[in-house]
Symmetry: D2
């Protein structure tokens, strides 16, 4: 049994825990009858044939390690250095190296972009099994991706910490969290951190509505407010624009970051001092939280089982507390956004959190 493994896209917590689980479970199942190939820097390594044969030692002591021992690269058909050429040429390169390595299967750990390519490779006849990793938790057909809970912990800790400064100074604080297209991370961290307003890409905000919520808090005696804002949140005015108009408008902005623009608007309208915090890549680094370690381990051992069963072309997913395989075609290209009527949003509204709408 010859198995390749690669991690693609932005790194997140739990990648090494998942790699470890795949490797350890394969050795338990096949003992000496398995060769595992670590492919370097995601699809780049597959295109360029950059890999090494891993040993049991490689999988030891990495459970709590952040990042990925395999390295990663983003967006396979854009940024990757390596063979020039069209997408189909790149796919051919990957197929060639898959065959050259005589792989029985390739395990791919990644998020939304990664799954498109994985599905494409599966369609080309490669045996592919994927694991859902992303701090965005935006993969369709799985209740949870690893990395998400760890990112929520960091984002919540930042909001917690800002609380003390906010309380002492009587200011408005904006904490800008990761999430270009979906707001799961901001929604969870916002509730967990006790934010007073939460702005999500899924719910266009109205600046007057936000300022009203802030003023109302002030009237009720609260000297400070904290806004948890997804980096991809948009205003109702922007939401009304066409994609082209939006792009044109954004190109003209001197301050491209949402939270700085928002800070300016709020400050001008309410007279409040507004401060911005952007934890950035800090959200995707460091040791995975225990939940992510357990989830990554379960997903990884389930992948090894699928390999033994020669059940390919699927993503391992969490559904109703169980790990199940989901056909790649039902995952690739779909985005799991926060439903507007979801119970968590209602719960947040019930305790007075504003969504700026």
């Amino acid at each position: 049994m010859r198995v390749g493994i690669l991690t693609s896209g932005g790194d997140c917590q739990g990648l090494n825990a998942a790699i470890r689980a795949v490797g350890k479970a394969l050795y338990e199942k096949f003992e000496d009858d398995v060769a595992i190939f670590g492919i370097r820097d995601g699809y780049r390594g597959l295109m360029e044939g950059d890999y090494w044969e891993m040993s049991p030692r490689d999988f030891s002591g990495i459970l709590t390690l952040g990042g990925t021992i395999l390295g990663t690269s983003r967006q396979p058909f854009k940024e990757i250095r390596g063979p020039e050429g069209s997408q189909s040429e790149k796919v051919e390169q990957m197929k060639k190296n898959y065959k050259k390595l005589r792989l029985d299967c390739i395990v791919i750990l990644g998020g939304n972009g990664t799954h498109k390519t994985a599905n494409l490779l599966s369609g080309e006849g490669l045996n592919v099994i994927t694991l859902p990793k992303t701090i965005d938790n935006d993969l369709w057909n799985t209740e949870m991706t690893f990395g998400f809970s760890s990112a929520v912990e960091i984002a919540s800790m930042v909001i917690d910490s800002i609380h003390s400064t906010a309380t002492s100074h009587g200011r408005v604080f904006i904490v800008e969290l990761m999430g270009h297209k979906v707001g799961w991370l901001t929604l969870h961290a916002g509730i967990a951190g006790g934010a007073d307003a939460i702005l999500l890409p899924e719910i266009p905000y109205n600046i007057d509505s936000i300022c009203r919520a802030l003023q109302q808090r002030k009237r009720s005696g609260k000297q400070f407010s904290i806004l948890a804002v997804a980096e991809g949140a948009i205003s109702d005015k922007e939401a009304a624009l066409s994609k082209k108009e939006l792009k044109a408008q954004r190109a003209k902005m001197t301050e491209p970051s949402l939270s700085y623009r928002l800070a300016k608007e709020i400050s001008e309208r309410t007279g409040n001092e507004v401060r911005v915090t952007i934890p950035g890549h800090f959200q995707r680094g460091g040791s995975p939280c225990p939940y992510d370690r357990v989830l990554a381990t379960r997903l990884g051992t389930a992948a090894a089982q699928m390999i033994q069963d020669r059940h390919f072309g699927c993503m391992m997913a969490l559904q109703n507390q169980k790990i199940v395989p989901v056909p790649l075609g039902e995952v690739a290209g779909k985005l799991k956004a926060v439903p507007l009527d979801c119970e968590m949003i209602q719960s947040a509204r019930d305790i007075g959190i504003s969504f700026g709408d």
Copy 2:
């Protein structure tokens, strides 16, 4: 609308987050038309009429606070100081105070023991809504209780930390975790912390089997081993005894703590130096993790909704990612143990973790 609220049993993380959610949601729903009574120290306060009328201020700033602002007491029909007498007399006292306060409903936060009494009070005609709190995660009909995830985080952190000492000294370490009857906490923390063996109350262990696993690790070049042990784990020999015999045997022991006995046995059989760590109450203290804050908030706001709907006699539960009401009769007196064939145990076995069986 007059609502009482009490916390009963051992404290855990997330109690204040849940209390806050109930209170804030009730004020949002009923504004000035609600009076919330904080009942002190669990059922003791209800029996003795020890309470205060809470104000919005009481619910502010407690989201991240460990413990319970209401105080708690254990086992209502055993330890409680207060009116002497039989169980029925105590129940009468509670009914009397419920009526004296003219409550529309009482919200009770607790674990297994608490739910028996809550169900009993509900049967006596009181309007009861409960929230599932326990670090054991052993309540029937809910996928998760708050407190559990926070305890897993602390227990995992202790195992993580022991790892470095274990590696440096080449020893066997036993980390004894909470869990008299069920092993959820030990199972999760054991996997998350990278334990080499996990002993649960649900799976009687064989001492020879454990020692074999330790020796095998040594032969494969690993100088140390870590055992995550639930305080209620039992040996296969003990499991074969009647309750009476077991009790008699335990009464004779000079060292009542499982992990110290285990350490002695392993040390004698393998010649290894064995060290014991018992984090104890540290596991149930401190600030709730973000997951528990969100879960407690969702459960609390759902309870407020039930109060508005006058839907009583139920525990709010997490089922398939949603918060739903479950009749108290379907919860009380039942214990959610770890199923022997559950996927997590299989996953752990797949990466070589021994359960000592």
Copy 3:
């Protein structure tokens, strides 16, 4: 004995621990014979007579609390809302309220700006004792200020976390830390976090020198580099300008933040992808670390002792492991910068850390 207490300037960790120590020690010393007045929002409260008489309850349970229960405000002679007028009029207002409250002493917790005003008030005949608080550790005549160690812990954790992403992606990361004028925080966090280059306000950097250091790391097989950068670091070219020229040049910049400018320069010169992280106010929030709690407690109890001894006009300082009083005149207006020849810089250079010079 009538004592006022106020906190001024940016908040930091340990303020409440210090307030608690002053209060508890005064009650222990004078029992019922002391009245403590909490003055709100720093010098603003002293100017406007905004205060409350504190009770023992106020000092309980705040040891681990971030921020300040007294509130704070920045720069007394610029931003404070309240009575208009010249500096001398403001000082008169403060003296008036001090007398109106019949204070025996006022305890002032603050950093560099705060000490100028404290010294001025002392010169006007007020009995002043100060405690050194700042995350910058830039107060003269004390080896350590509280807040600093906690900020170092947070900044180090951010760098730690960035490490995993940096390793996985093979990028250059800039972590911008607080410190406009001095680099203590960046120096400590940079060494503790294992940064590869550290840029301080005290050591003007040369962009070519930085890029050379990055390239050399790459040649030695290291795929990533982390730069810990104080927000006030300046280039050698800027250092050669007059203050006026520098101001003019900065006014023209489209990107005012140092780390974004630096990222652009490095990226253009080396072709590396460069990412920026700015933890911002996160560095001064949250619970104080144990070191700061102990230091704040020692400083607070020493202040109470000075009050009992009626020894005023001084800052409590840490010198050679002991808490000693230092005359305010020897502190105010002086800045403790990182000496270029200090042992820590030499130690950092010895392990290959570049200072960009």
Copy 4:
């Protein structure tokens, strides 16, 4: 230049950070002209000639790693497995291997026991430089040892966490911390964690005095108390015994652990429920705190400088904020206990903390 390096005694945080600093600084100073030999498991490896030649790679990525990559063993002249025989025979073995390896110097990281042997080896003509590591901070002639601050952080976190349970239940909690002979760790963690009583080996406690302090807290409305207790604390009655009598008395005890005995006594005398927590080896594991990383780095680079200067026979120490060499003879065999009249104890008393005396 040929340098050996070993770590001896109980492991603690910061060992790898110090090893890294020594190694990196030696490579910076001597480039290819240095060979560093990692000696396994402390003095055992030196006796048995168990070592490997380290490479720059060995020193990379270990700054934040707990434990020691070199392994360690305790008490060289008692427990070490290996060549049987008298102390002098063992010393001869070590000298032989030192010479066989043609070492210019051996760097030894350890605590009190380690320094006796290091001094002995130095007396035998070996070139020895030591670094002070211990969570006890009990080494003479240095203000601080690495490992101590990290252990204080963990111990404080445990007390913090216990606070919430204690508050909720109205109980007495005993947290037993490491420290057989000295109380620095318990003193710092006790103050930082807000303990109500602190028992140290240096201050014999009187059980009636402790109970009085607890009762007085209760009368003042505090429902709970937390005792931070060093494992080596003794009662005034025990302190009055001769060593022989004390040993005889302890041999008769059914419960050898101080905190369980104390719990029983307090419970019997006051009627309070008392719970015990023993974090144990958790205190010396995990990643070093930033302070310890910086201290270990400074000590390690200073050791490399001493090697370059061929200044041997000394321990690197922190004195008055500077790293200085101290002759081994002035360190070995001396214990730095907490002075009864030290300012920290006075500070703790000033805020009402009882020392049980």
